[in-house]
Symmetry: C2
Subunit: 210 residues, 2 copies
């Protein structure tokens, strides 16, 4: 099924779930028009997105907020916890580790690794930072579902190759680098500074045009 | 010119700049093959990307690391500073404010606003958190180039409408919401939890297929 569902659909499913969770009355109902308006799409799109996953709601009555939230959580794999390992215990890694939003959504950071001997052995809450040389062991042994990469760009390619060889299935990359992974490995990127650079590029070009 | 340059080209320009900045010898040269290999693209793509902005390098001699870095910084608008205002002084806002990567790249957070009276008036380093009702004044008065939104999804739409009306030209949004802005306003999104949810969706679907 994952092949047929587009990235933008998955993104909208995440948005619908957020809207539902923010609603004042979880016992109430919500219409596709409501969901559409609050997520910047159309009611037809909402119905189409949801219809990919079976039948929801009753004609004319809308969706039960509670039922639809539960179904969306199940579809998105948020009705369980995922074990996350993180490579890179620098500033970004530390901020991510402390970010409660991950934990609330069921993403549990179970291991942190770093190549810097000065960081190895330090404790972050219940976690002891391990040497990055143990990556394969951690991925194989701890039942790691998702790997977060918060390392410099020059280190990330070698780490990805090792992680993929060790069997990792999903990677969230914060390093400013384009990565090559096999088709069956899911890969997402987050890079705040590069997004800012794209904005500054646009602003600069606009100025030159005037 | 900004209309003709694709988002993926701008992203690669950012990557090339990072590779150049990480190189050991800024006085040396680099080939398009080198840049391609380190950024996961082809040498032809590197040459095509750079040719959009004029002539670089000498045939057979490669690019001067120092010259190309300087040209890329100018193209990306990183040869100057940009004033950034941020709405939302919660956990994400605070982490962003403390992230030195922004400052290093010339993105200076000059104002922080929040709607919570308990936060207004608090000092973050040299900044005093202002009431969100002053958004229009801040955008108009402080020469704000870029607005960062680190507020809950339910608040973000109203803030964007006000910011656009007040003349903001570029927005980096961390709230989990799709936003509608006029064509001449540049908009980028960063949402770590939604990227993780896309990964958990893929992992879940994979399991159901087996």
């Amino acid at each position: 099924m994952s092949r047929k569902v587009s990235e933008s659909t998955v993104r909208r499913l995440s948005l619908y779930l957020r809207i539902l969770e923010e609603m004042a009355s979880p016992g109430g109902t919500v219409s596709s028009e409501d969901l559409a308006e609050r997520t910047g799409t159309t009611a037809a799109q909402v119905r189409k997105d949801l219809s990919l996953f079976g039948s929801f709601g009753k004609r004319g009555l809308g969706y039960s907020v509670e039922e639809l939230s539960g179904r969306l959580r199940a579809i998105l794999g948020l009705d369980r916890t995922w074990n996350v390992a993180m490579v890179g215990a620098g500033r970004i890694g530390s901020a991510l580790f402390e970010y409660s939003g991950f934990w609330k959504r069921g993403f549990h950071i179970v291991a942190v690794l770093d190549a810097d001997p000065a960081k190895v052995g330090r404790r972050w809450g219940p976690i002891t930072i391990q040497d990055a040389s143990r990556l394969e062991e951690v991925i194989g042994g701890a039942g790691v579902d998702i790997l977060i990469l918060a390392v410099p760009a020059r280190e990330v390619h070698a780490i990805v190759d090792r992680a993929v060889a060790a069997g990792v299935r999903a990677i969230l990359n914060f390093a400013p680098a384009q990565l090559k992974v096999p088709e069956d490995v899911a890969l997402k990127h987050v890079n705040m500074v590069m997004e800012l650079e794209a904005l500054s590029f646009t602003l600069s070009q606009d100025r030159k045009e005037r």
